[in-house]
């Protein structure tokens, strides 16, 4: 995938198409989950890959793998879109890891490595206590700030911050080997 980004940075548009083919299901899934509106999600999806095209040359300086760079970009744009929407209404539906485990299976073009990572991320989320997971999902998928989360849950701000911290540290611990593996594969 690094190779694809390098080609895109050199102005090779077919690289973006290749990247799209291997990742658009994941990226679209994330955007749809955040926005809950397929038509808006379609526009954001196009914007994300256009942005990749424009910013591929600055990828080197970014942290993380190309896929996490892409997913972060998609998440940011989707949240921005949600906030700019006239009917600014955050979705607060929890991720249903169990139900979607199978239906979320992606096409054959998805590399085995990505599939492995997805499984790991899902199981990492499942190891969190439900309140920790809830706080992390409200922040990441619904774009709520700590005080909005506290208000939404009717919990003190300190509690929300502690849940976020403990949850993230747990995820960090669970996902760390994954990051290393990915880097080694380069």
């Amino acid at each position: 995938m690094e190779e694809i980004i390098r080609r895109a940075a050199q102005g090779d548009a077919s690289a973006i198409a290749a990247l799209y083919d291997s990742t658009s299901r994941l990226v679209f899934g994330l955007i749809v989950h955040i926005l809950g509106d397929r038509f808006a999600a379609e526009e954001v999806l196009l914007d994300v890959y256009t942005q990749v095209w424009c910013q591929a040359s600055s990828y080197e300086q970014q942290r993380g793998t190309p896929l996490s760079w892409l997913m972060t970009m998609a998440r940011t744009r989707a949240i921005d879109r949600m906030r700019s929407g006239k009917q600014y209404q955050q979705r607060k539906e929890p991720l249903d890891l169990a139900v979607h485990q199978k239906s979320g299976e992606v096409g054959p073009e998805e590399a085995a490595a990505i599939s492995e990572r997805r499984t790991l991320v899902r199981s990492a989320l499942e190891t969190l206590s439900p309140p920790q997971r809830e706080v992390i999902e409200l922040a990441y998928y619904s774009g709520l700030s700590h005080s909005e989360i506290a208000a939404h849950l009717g919990q003190p701000l300190g509690t929300v911050k502690t849940r976020a911290r403990l949850g993230m540290m747990k995820l960090c611990e669970m996902l760390r080997p994954l990051g290393r593996e990915q880097k080694a594969r380069g």
Binding site: Q55, A139, C172
Partner: protein
């Protein structure tokens, strides 16, 4: 001031930042702190950001509709700017190239008309391109979403009509000897407006107007007003539900020589011989 060790507080701030859950003010302050080079917070943030980078993978994958890929490829081709020269963060559609009115047209136009004209013109260019894209998209959707077929067909037809209208507007605007007559809202409807694009070659008027939606049983009628103040019906014009109208009228050649103004009145459905109701918009042929 740099931290010299990890504390619950530094962890909390870095995790919330990575999750995008700090308030704007707190996030900016934290970014300043990172830029100042605190090694503790930098190490933490890179750790947590690699986690948030992966979090999105937990969302169920959804295959996007096939036409999006075509649209993406088309967009990339259009942007065609090598990414190296594109300004950082640039995205979306490029601005339409400003188009000048041909000088033969400009001669006729007072400056205010010219400005409106230019806006209309730029609009038509950009829209035709965007609508073309939209049509491709709508067509794909028709296939993909049978259940919404009927509704989308209507939209598609409307969009096609808009493209045709804009094309006609453009062809008049670019032909030499075209004239623009602005129609201004009158006492009964000050916010109404319109314009006549007069193709003097083909003796044809393209009339666009934005009027209050007509009451039931009423319709708008366009009038040629001659230099002798005679009012000759140019026919009933149709509006959509929002009061937008786009009408093409062939001007009889004897009328075209003596027309001094154009007006739109509200009349009983079917039209009147002579205007019976107040004038909604009026414009003089300069």
């Amino acid at each position: 001031m740099n931290h010299n060790q990890t504390t619950e507080e530094t962890q909390e701030r870095a995790t919330l930042y990575a999750l995008g859950a700090l308030s704007q003010h707190e996030a900016r302050a934290f970014e300043v702190h990172l830029r100042e080079g605190c090694p503790v917070c930098q190490a933490e943030i890179s750790q947590y950001e690699s986690v948030t980078g992966e979090l999105g993978l937990a969302a169920p994958a959804v295959p996007p509709p096939a036409y999006l890929r075509e649209l993406l490829v088309a967009r990339l081709e259009r942007e065609a700017a090598p990414p190296a020269t594109a300004p950082a963060g640039a995205s979306g559609t490029p601005l339409p190239t400003p188009v000048r009115a041909p000088s033969s047209v400009r001669l006729y136009l007072p400056w205010a008309v010219a400005a409106c004209f230019a806006a209309l013109f730029a609009f038509s260019y950009r829209s035709i391109r965007q609508i073309g894209q939209e049509i491709a998209r709508q067509q794909e959707r028709l296939v993909a979403l049978q259940s919404e077929g009927e509704q989308l067909k209507t939209t598609l037809t409307q969009e096609r009509m808009r493209v045709q209208q804009l094309d006609q507007v453009r062809s008049v605007l670019t032909s030499p000897g075209s004239r623009v007559v602005l129609l201004a809202g009158q006492g009964s409807a000050p916010s109404a407006s319109g314009a006549v694009l007069w193709d003097t070659h083909r003796n044809r008027w393209l009339v666009t107007a934005s009027l209050p939606p007509p009451p039931v049983g009423k319709a708008y009628q366009l009038w040629f007003i001659t230099t002798a103040q005679a009012k000759i019906s140019a026919g009933v014009i149709r509006t959509d539900v929002t009061g937008q109208s786009f009408t093409i009228i062939d001007v009889p050649s004897d009328v075209s020589k003596q027309v001094a103004a154009a007006a739109i009145t509200l009349e009983p459905e079917g039209g009147s011989e002579q205007p019976t109701m107040p004038i909604y918009v009026l414009g003089r042929v300069g």
